[in-house]
Assembly symmetry: C2
Homo-oligomer: 174 residues x 2
DNA sequence: CTCCTGGCTTGTGCTGACCGGAGCCAGACC
DNA sequence: GGTCTGGCTCCGGTCAGCACAAGCCAGGAG
């Protein structure tokens, strides 16, 4: 259409002929779409591992922390690992899995957007940089050939083998 | 601490001495943290512009669509522009602003994560590629020198001029 | 003038996210 | 045995997000 939206290809072109039932954005939001889940992830990235620290630093109640942490473990974003401090019994910590680490672009994307668009100065109270070189850190949409991909150059197509890739109508995708 | 978390620098190192009151992740979630807001954004990226199309394609009611679209316009993620089809009165469409386009990494990040971790085959029903070269599209965390930045190489520090940058305790950041 | 249509608004009610506070339980320490 | 602590669970209640359904309003078509 114009240069400011993605291009829908194949059976997707007619947007009125398919539903978003299997939309990956929707399925992601189903499991990590709450405020507390995102903030717990932020804390995990900051290095927090223990129950009370999560609850206190995210400023949620124990009940919510327990419920949310349990869900995050269930969906595989966190795992529990036992630990034992001298003189106490065995407890367990919540640590990130690969799946949890894969959500980093989402949380950093929110971080960057909040810093840029939701603070008076457009800078925000914290900065992110690369330990190795000191360069400022950003979240970018890129193709595998390293080209930056603005919205207008983004193409969406059905995965091979799906109904919509064969031009059928009425399918479900995302 | 270990290689799987970010490094907190300056006054941030002691995580127990500062609060996340001004956290940009939190402020971002305050305005675009709902399921319907994210899905409306997805639709906007797909090229949707009209009220009924948004409501139908996101599968929310008119009431929710009206409320959420109004909020998104208020926070500057969308703008209304008047249009007129022949033989009807003037109405208005909802189009993305620069601020709205800046949320693309967040929505694509959820898209990628959902495709990878919330579908049986780990691929998802849709694919994203670069129109110009056909390459698969990803969301990446990079520094300004183009180095990929894994979580373990990410450093978080206070913005210059903030309380925490001067080593004071009890500040508020993110 | 009435009818129709798109873009809402309003009303009712459910559910899930969240809070504050109290209680529980296992084990270490005494 | 009793006490303390971390990691929960349970209870009662509020509020926001959402669905379903009805109503409203401006303006073009007839």
């Amino acid at each position: 259409m114009d240069q400011h939206t993605a291009v829908l290809e194949g059976g997707l072109a007619d947007r009125s002929r398919w539903r978003d039932e299997a939309c990956p954005v929707r399925s992601a939001l189903d499991v990590v779409g709450t405020r507390s889940a995102m903030l717990l992830l932020r804390e995990a990235y900051y290095g927090t591992r223990r129950f009370q620290d999560f609850a206190a630093r995210v400023r949620i109640t124990d009940a919510v922390a327990a419920a949310r942490l349990r869900e995050l473990v269930e969906v595989g974003v966190l795992t529990t690992v036992p630990y034992r401090e001298p003189g106490t019994r065995t407890r367990h910590e919540y640590v990130l899995t690969d799946s949890g680490r894969d959500l980093l672009p989402v949380v950093l994307g929110l971080f960057a957007w909040g810093s840029r668009h939701r603070t008076p100065d457009g800078r925000g109270p914290l900065e992110l940089h690369h330990r190795d070189c000191g360069g400022a850190v950003r979240v970018e949409v890129r193709c595998e050939h390293d080209h930056p991909v603005p919205l207008g150059e983004l193409a969406v197509s059905p995965a091979r083998g799906s109904r919509l890739s064969r031009g059928a109508a009425g399918g479900a995708a995302g």
